[in-house]
């Protein structure tokens, strides 16, 4: 009979099963909330393998992975000057397992020069600044004696001398125009596809100077085929101790270096962000990581998450100001 079929005992059993399942679900969520990260993390690198960003990401990321206790999967998503990767990270699930590289490219020049980019700085929370990438003005050996000689000739012949950058609207282009402005010169900008191509053009005598990174130029600087006219950092660099800074040459306003670091989506909860930040902090303190970064021509320069946020914001303003003044929009 129907009543007996579905009697009290069955109800009890059903109730137990239900509550068991529910509590499993609750425990699962609680467990997840308590143990972060609970699965492998994805580090989205915004450039192709082999470049300095890629090297930095793998070095720092590998160590951070040990501190986080989960594997770190590196995924290169180049494209759009770094915008593709940044966009991906900004829109990823807010569980904190997706982080990415970001720096002067995708969160700097792209946002400063009026491009139609689907994200803003507010979509990201900084994890760490990893490195400063200093820039150096190089010329072929024998072309100029020093920076003053270059400035003198440039002023004598406005619009004749040429400088090469690693891309239109890139940090090197903007810094080049910045130097034009502060020194009162009119050196023509010739864009190249990458620092190596600009350096090749200088070596071949096709352009007069190039704004490049230490990483690209260090071997030729040491061999003497290239000479460094000035570096854009606060202090002289160990790699090239004979090259004066822009400040020493009389142009302190032209002190600007490129930078690279790690960010994640701003939707990630603060407690998880803290876990990631401390893992990266420990990774950056590792002497192996610091050595590795120096070998690729970068200066290890750790900044904690919130400080990286403010650093990104202030540099963005600076980039905006210079590019507007130079007409790079």
């Amino acid at each position: 009979m129907v009543n007996n079929f579905f009697n009290r005992r069955h109800l009890v059993v059903l109730g137990v099963m239900l509550s068991f399942t529910l509590s499993l679900g609750v425990c699962h969520t609680l467990l997840l909330a308590q143990s972060f990260p609970s699965k492998e993390m994805e580090l989205i690198i915004n450039f192709s393998p082999g470049g300095s960003t890629d090297m930095m990401a793998r070095m720092v990321g590998n160590k951070a992975s040990k501190h986080l206790g989960v594997p770190m999967v590196f995924i290169n998503k180049p494209g759009g000057g770094g915008a593709i990767a940044a966009n991906f990270v900004a829109n990823a699930k807010p569980d904190g397992h997706t982080i990415g590289t970001a720096g002067a490219s995708n969160l700097g020049t792209l946002l400063a020069t009026g491009e139609k980019i689907p994200y803003t700085l507010k979509d990201f929370s900084g994890i760490a600044r990893a490195a400063i990438v200093p820039m150096i003005i190089v010329a072929k050996k024998g072309r100029f004696d020093n920076f003053e000689g270059f400035v003198k000739e440039a002023k004598q012949k406005p619009g004749v001398l040429t400088f090469g950058s690693w891309g239109s609207k890139s940090t090197s282009h903007i810094v080049g125009e910045l130097i034009n402005q502060v020194a009162g010169m009119k050196v023509k900008h010739i864009p190249f596809e990458g620092g190596a191509k600009a350096m090749t053009a200088v070596l071949g005598g096709h352009i007069d100077v190039a704004v490049a990174t230490i990483g690209t130029t260090q071997s030729n600087l040491r061999a003497g085929t290239l000479i460094g006219l000035a570096v854009t950092t606060q202090a002289r660099l160990d790699d090239v101790p004979d090259v004066p800074t822009m400040k020493e040459s009389g142009y302190p306003e032209a002190t600007f270096s490129s930078y690279d670091g790690f960010v994640t989506s701003s939707t990630v909860p603060k407690d998880r962000l803290e876990i990631i930040i401390s893992a990266f902090e420990k990774s950056m303190k590792d002497p192996e990581v610091q050595e590795g970064l120096k070998k690729t021509g970068m200066i290890p320069a750790f900044l904690r998450g919130p400080e990286y946020d403010s650093f990104l914001a202030s540099n963005l303003e600076l980039l905006r100001a210079v590019s507007t003044k130079a007409g790079i929009q």
């Binding site: 393998p49 998503k77 494209g79 005598g205 990483g215 071997s219 061999a223 070998k295």
Partner: protein, 488 residues
């Protein structure tokens, strides 16, 4: 130990070369972490081996399945695949393996002897020289077509237009990007190529019944090249090696330009140019040799000047820097072990690759015996995985699919894909170099003729453009004088 590392490198390289789209860059980046644990010499040996192996392997799929594994293997498809269809896959693979070996050995020898000197010559190639060189390449684009000249030109024009999509190099203006972030970098060569060649070929082939006829006459007559093949290939191999090597040394020259030039030269001086495109051995021997010579040549700027001239070299440079070595003018002095270790491994690697690939020819030819109904889904699978692996994005898979369908219609109406691809590659290169040159000269076009190297190439290009017209005029006056002219 070094030998073992070399072998692993070439083996993995061949594998990744054979799999379309999963090019040497992807393989090298996957294996970069392993190189951290090896010494610097061993890492470079392995990475260089991968690069070489990929060059060898890339021709395999081009010949067997009309799917170019890398940009440089595209030209091999033009005559290699028809040869496979005629049952001559074995000789095609054989000649390309031997040609690659000869080219590789030659370029290593030249690296040893003339390395630094050549590097300095390469430096004299600035933007105006690049303009002339790419202009020369563009004039030869129509040599890639074996059908109607007008249709080839249409496809080349279309390729030029497609090459415009993206950001303009000087001002960063968006062109045809439709507000899509991805299009800021343009459409991407490899997905388009895989679509137009690989996917389209499959679509066309499955139109004919799958069971009725064998797609490949696989009663392979010979597995190895015949004496006649060797005789025919001797010239192309020699010319291809020289042309490919010098073009590879020029930073940014590119393997594609090398294989294009080789194909065009062979077709031009051949006694039977109309046979090109139907499966001539010269059309395989020349380009394959050229792209391997180019690969060897591209090591020179890296090892002697520290300038990486393509993505693969950039990865190699990164790997070296991690070990604290900056490749450049001082490399030979400061790290002679590394330099000679790499040179030695290139010789050994070439031998290993030859030994690896020759016995495999029999195996590859058997692959063609797989019923097409089973083979084509595999081709699709590899193409999809390959195109995804380029940027870890489905976007490239989408581009490949669209161009696959487009390529199907192109094949139906006999429009050829090769001129399109070549123009797609050369167009942007030409434009970049042109604008840089004009910026340097303040808009004065005489810069292309006032510099000796540039002037030479420009004159050569103009000569090539104008000479058929002159020949036609001569022919009109004395009919029957010249044989072997192609009709429209």
């Amino acid at each position: 130990m070094n030998l073992l590392v070399c072998f692993i490198g070439v083996f993995i390289g061949t594998l990744t070369g054979v799999l379309p789209g999963i090019g040497s860059t992807a393989a090298m980046s996957l294996l970069l972490p392993i190189t951290f644990t090896l010494s610097s010499t061993q890492s470079i040996i392995m990475l260089a081996g991968i690069y070489y192996g990929a060059m060898y392997g890339g021709s395999t799929t081009s010949i067997l399945l009309n799917v170019p594994g890398e940009g440089t293997s595209m030209i091999t498809c033009l005559d290699g695949y028809p040869m496979a269809k005629k049952g001559r896959a074995g000789p095609a693979l054989g000649i390309s393996a031997f040609g690659s070996f000869i080219a590789g050995t030659f370029s290593v020898a030249m690296l040893m002897i003339l390395g630094p000197l050549l590097a300095n010559i390469a430096l004299s190639f600035g933007p105006p020289e690049n303009v002339s060189l790419t202009f020369l390449g563009l004039t030869m684009v129509t040599y890639l077509g074996s059908g109607s000249m007008v249709k080839s030109l249409m496809m080349a024009a279309f390729g030029l237009l497609l090459g415009c999509i993206g950001l303009d190099i000087v001002k960063g203006t968006e062109r045809y990007t439709l507000g899509i972030l991805r299009l800021r970098d343009g459409l991407g060569l490899i997905p388009i190529m895989m679509g137009l060649f690989g996917i389209a070929e499959v679509l066309i082939t499955i139109e004919t019944s799958l069971e009725k006829r064998e797609i490949f006459k696989t009663r392979a007559k010979e597995l190895f090249p015949t004496k006649q093949d060797w005789k025919d290939s001797a010239g192309p191999i020699t010319r291809g090696t020289l042309a490919g090597f010098f073009l590879g040394v020029i930073p940014g020259g590119g393997g594609m330009l090398a294989s294009l030039m080789s194909y065009a030269i062979e077709k031009r001086i051949s006694k039977h140019p109309e046979k090109f495109g139907t499966g001539t051995i010269e059309g395989v021997a020349g380009p394959e040799t050229a792209n391997n010579a180019g690969a060897g040549g591209s090591f020179i700027p890296l090892l002697t000047l520290g300038i990486p001239c393509n993505v693969v070299m950039a990865v190699l440079m990164g790997a070296l820097m991690i070990h604290g070595i900056s490749p450049g003018p001082l490399l030979l002095k400061e790290h002679p072990n590394l330099f000679w270790g790499v040179v030695g491994s290139m010789y050994v690697g070439n031998v290993m690759l030859l030994a690896l690939n020759l016995p495999l020819i029999g195996l590859w030819v058997k692959v063609l015996r797989i019923p097409y109904s089973l083979l084509f889904p595999l081709i699709f699978l590899f193409c999809i995985i390959g195109s995804y692996s380029l940027n870890n994005s489905l976007w490239d898979v989408g581009v490949m699919t669209i161009f696959g369908v487009l390529g199907y219609f192109m094949k139906k109406f006999r429009y050829e894909a090769a001129p399109l691809i070549m123009a797609l590659v050369l167009g942007p290169m030409f434009e970049v170099a042109l604008r840089q040159s004009l910026m340097l000269s303040n808009g004065n076009p005489s810069i292309f003729f006032s510099r000796p190297i540039s002037a030479t190439f420009m004159t050569l290009s103009l000569f090539i453009l104008v000479s058929p017209l002159c020949l036609k005029m001569v022919k009109k006056r004395r009919p029957g004088l010249l044989k072997g002219d192609k009709e429209f």
